[in-house]
């Protein structure tokens, strides 16, 4: 019968739109921001419940006394849907603490998963609020004023509204992700500690995405509940989130179209295909096999095609156009000795890095007062009091385990001291979070590789530039017209830097594919573009070919001459000899000596510490 088919088609359209919307929202959290929201279904279910009870009348007064629920405000469409979106966003707030930067991503994910499990159980058993496992039925259908809810026209109109809203969500999310703010989100996804050290407020970014995704999830739940007129906790089990994750993994994480494709293939496809399997003697068999298939899809795709059917798009920022996109990077370490630093010597650092202040001022910029750090009762840094002079390249040297990197981490705020103080420009910054220190001009690099792997080299550099007009949620929403010009200038500056370091050809390559030496350069360039007043380098020459190390060292000397302050942790004496003045020697967590290298070489205890170490 054609009309039965038409009804079926309309249903498919609504389900497809709801699933797409949910996958788009989860993909922004997971694929872009790296937030594994295993409790996603809570937000969808919560929104659906609120939409239902906002549209229904008071249960005690109406003839719906057979079921209990709260509110019952009998609001007209679209108010219940708006309420659902707002509630979805509010639901994010209790989970904010779980996604703070201190907690490992998988631990946070487990917390969200368990929340979904137990909230579902609570709802199942709590009658006054949710009517228990029976759930709520006879949820009024929206916009019945305009269409007869029994007619085919209504079904298609509903599908139309759902599709239009999904398209709007798609464009909204694109606006967010294809902006400087979206770049920051992906940087956080690739390495949250480094993003934090470059001044991104990771906690705020994650919270924003949890709220935004929650609002969209709530809306998608509202659309569904208005269509099926039923809300039962059994339909919102924690495993439904896993289905959505499967959809995104299949479609392509970090790609909006991939999320939609995944939604149409996995949740919708599975529901609909199995509908046509004739009933078997064992009624549990088909649903069970469906779950098995979902599990196999997840494992299979993550192994054979981890980027999904539509992988994340590489963003080409350089003017080179698409033809340059295929450039692949050499990965052999030998090539590092051949890296030439381009026209760096002709570059004016003061202009490019917006360096201000008097380059001949050598006052104290940063100091510590009895800085101490213990791990598991073992004191790694003990009462270190040092002073860093402005406009100098100070070396921090010492044998392995001397506490150099720990000291640097405490200067940058990556690690909190057990006791003692850090003073920056005379101000006590001991309790200042690392991202704020970065914003006030203290930028650090890391000993281990820390590039944002799935950002291109140019994106890595641009992401570090402070005060970008499009690098906030609101800025992103205002669109390219608001931030486009600023971004073009930033890209221009980053390209200039890239040219100076002779890496222009890799502008649009993924940073994760570069050689070790090239990645070091990317990290240094990125740190410089963050416009540091004081640059804290943690073994920048480790694993770098000596030729290249010397070229880098020369540039650091030039930077210092231009007025920048640099602190460098290193254990290569040759490097210290050539570039650092003064040098502070740490051994067993204490300051052993300080002075020029020549002075230090004359000191017996320094030589001994090195021979022992």
């Amino acid at each position: 019968m054609p009309s039965a088919f038409a009804f079926y088609l309309a249903t498919i359209i609504v389900y497809g739109a709801v699933d797409s919307m949910a996958c788009l929202a989860l993909n922004v959290q997971f694929g872009f921001a790296g937030l594994s929201n295993f409790g996603f279904i809570i937000f969808q279910a919560g929104g659906a419940y609120v939409a239902a009870v906002l549209s229904m009348g008071n249960w005690q007064k109406s003839n719906q006394g057979f079921q209990q629920y709260v509110l019952g405000w009998h609001l007209a469409w679209p108010l219940p849907w708006i309420g659902a979106a707002i509630f979805g966003g509010l639901l994010a707030l209790p989970f904010v603490f779980l996604v703070g930067k201190r907690l490992r991503g998988d631990f946070a994910a487990v917390g969200l998963l368990v929340s979904a499990v137990l909230l579902n159980q609570l709802v199942n058993n709590f009658v006054p609020l949710f009517n228990g496992a029976a759930g709520i039925s006879i949820v009024p259908a929206p916009f019945t004023h305009y269409f007869n809810p029994q007619g085919l026209g209504y079904q298609f109109a509903y599908g139309g509204v759902a599709v239009v809203l999904t398209v709007l969500v798609y464009f909204l999310l694109r606006r967010v992700t294809e902006s400087p703010y979206g770049r920051s989100l992906r940087a956080m996804r690739d390495n949250d500690i480094v993003a934090d050290a470059l001044g991104k407020n990771v906690r705020v970014q994650r919270t924003s995405m949890l709220i935004l995704g929650g609002m969209i999830a709530g809306l998608s739940g509202a659309i569904l509940v208005g269509f099926i007129n039923l809300w039962a906790p059994g339909a919102w089990g924690y495993a439904e989130t896993i289905v959505l994750f499967a959809a995104i993994i299949v479609g392509g994480a970090g790609n909006h179209k991939g999320a939609i494709l995944g939604a149409l293939l996995v949740p919708l496809g599975f529901e609909e295909v199995t509908r046509f399997i004739p009933p078997l003697s064992n009624p549990a068999l088909v649903p069970a096999l469906e779950w098995v298939a979902i599990g196999l899809l997840i494992i299979g795709f993550l192994w054979f095609r981890p980027d999904g059917i539509l992988p994340e798009r590489r963003r080409i920022l350089s003017g080179a156009g698409k033809s340059a996109a295929a450039m692949s990077a050499p990965v052999s370490a030998e090539s590092d000795s051949l890296i030439n630093l381009g026209n760096l010597d002709q570059m004016d650092f003061r202009q490019l890095l917006r360096l201000e202040g008097d380059a001949s001022d050598h006052g104290i910029i940063l100091s510590t007062d009895r800085l101490t750090r213990a791990f598991h009762g073992v004191t790694v840094v003990s009462e270190v009091s040092i002073e860093i002079q402005r406009g100098r390249l100070t070396g921090l040297i010492g044998p392995n385990g001397a506490g150099k990197s720990t000291t640097l981490a405490m200067l940058a705020g990556t690690l909190a001291p057990t006791s003692g103080k850090v003073l920056y420009e005379g101000r006590d910054i001991t309790s200042m979070p690392s991202n704020e220190r970065a914003k006030s001009g203290m930028i650090r690099t890391f000993q281990l590789a820390s590039e944002f792997k799935k950002l291109t080299v140019l994106e890595n550099l641009v992401s570090a530039i402070p005060r970008q007009s499009g690098d906030s949620f609101v800025g992103a929403l205002r669109g390219r017209r608001f931030w486009g010009r600023d971004d073009a200038e930033n890209i221009e500056r980053a390209s200039e830097m890239l040219e100076g370091f002779g890496l222009t050809q890799y502008a649009d390559s993924y940073a994760g594919g570069l050689s070790g030496g090239q990645r070091r350069l990317v990290e240094i360039m990125r740190a410089l573009l963050a416009q540091p007043t004081i640059l804290l380098l943690d073994e920048p020459m480790a694993g770098v070919h000596p030729n290249l190390a010397h070229k880098i060292g020369d540039q650091l000397t030039r930077l210092v001459a231009s007025g920048m302050t640099i602190v460098m942790v290193e254990h290569e004496l040759a490097i210290m000899d050539a570039f650092c003045d003064p040098v502070i020697v740490l051994a067993e967590g204490r300051v052993l000596a300080q002075g020029t290298m020549a002075e230090l070489r004359a000191k017996k205890e320094v030589v001994e510490a090195y021979l022992v170490g």
Binding site: G105, N125, G295, W303
Partner: protein, 291 residues
């Protein structure tokens, strides 16, 4: 007082089952850094192997349990060898491994359900005489389970403190690459860990099913919540923490069930877990790992 004592009895038996399960789970995390969320599915599959040996091969349930233990050990070993290790070699973030584990859990649990169907099962086993002492009511079966738990915990203590393998495990857990450089064959340590922890998983699955009395293919699906709560309470990766955590969670859930609505007894585990994740993610006694 009588409510308290009788629910304390239930708490001890829950804690015994939970302790066996959590120690295995936390050992896997300690040595390989994998939050193996497929643990529950291995438990229930092991319980069903015991069931078939018991019901169809007519073995005594305690003898059949050996089959369950072996199933857990072998399945966990294979899981690590052919799923988790290959994925970890690709240097993927821990969250990817968690997602893979969830996929494995679906395959394991619902694959079993596809085979055995949705009906209820129980072992052919007598509960034994019901014993009444100190205000607690426990069956002989439950006392045996508690006894098994005490013996197993003693063995784990001996393994970790007094054997070469145990020391190697602790070294691998503290710093795998350092352990490797010090001449410990970490690959072999990891394999042994998965065999031992898998045996605990199989044992836990069987005693869980014995204690529940009636079970289905999806019975252990939500057990992971209690496991996680117990593990995070004691500090992830710590075997002794897991024992203490299991005792606390087991007793707390049952005692709260004695006083409040038993439908909400897992809520306390949930609150503990979220509280721990928020304020002390490395356990009551552990401290934060550093970069």
């Amino acid at each position: 007082m009588s409510v308290f004592l009788s629910s304390l009895g239930f708490g001890l038996i829950s804690a015994a089952v939970l302790a066996i399960a959590t120690v295995g789970f936390t050992m896997q995390f300690a040595v390989t850094n994998v939050l193996n969320l497929a643990y529950g599915s291995v438990m229930i599959n092991s319980a069903f192997v015991t069931y078939y040996l018991n019901y169809h091969a007519h073995l005594n349930a305690w003898v059949a349990m050996i089959g369950g233990v072996l199933t857990g050990a072998i399945a966990s070993y294979l899981l690590n060898r052919f799923i988790f290790t290959p994925f970890q070699r690709r240097n993927l973030p821990p969250i990817t491994i968690v997602i893979v584990a969830l996929g494995v859990d679906l395959v394991g649990t619902f694959g079993l359900q596809a085979i055995v169907g949705g009906s209820y099962f129980s072992y052919k086993q007598s509960l034994g005489r019901e014993l009444h002492f100190w205000g607690m009511y426990l069956s002989t079966l439950q006392l045996i389970i508690i006894g098994i738990c005490v013996v197993v915990m003693g063995l784990i203590h001996w393994l970790l403190k007094y054997t070469r393998l145990g020391k190697a495990m602790r070294a691998t857990s503290a710093n795998a690459s350092l352990a490797r450089n010090s001449g410990i064959r970490t690959q072999r340590v990891i394999s042994s860990t998965w065999l031992i922890s898998g045996a605990l998983c199989g044992l836990a699955g069987t005693v869980f099913a014995m204690n529940t009395g009636v079970f289905v293919a999806t019975s252990a699906q939500l057990y992971i919540v209690l496991l996680l709560a117990a593990m995070f309470l004691g500090g992830p990766g710590s075997a002794y923490g897991a024992m203490l955590g299991a005792l606390t969670i087991g007793v707390a859930t049952e005692v709260s069930a004695g006083y409040f609505n038993p439908e909400y007894k897992e809520v306390i585990a949930f609150v503990v877990l979220l509280g721990m994740l928020t304020f002390r993610p490395y356990g009551l006694f552990g401290s934060e790992k550093t970069i």
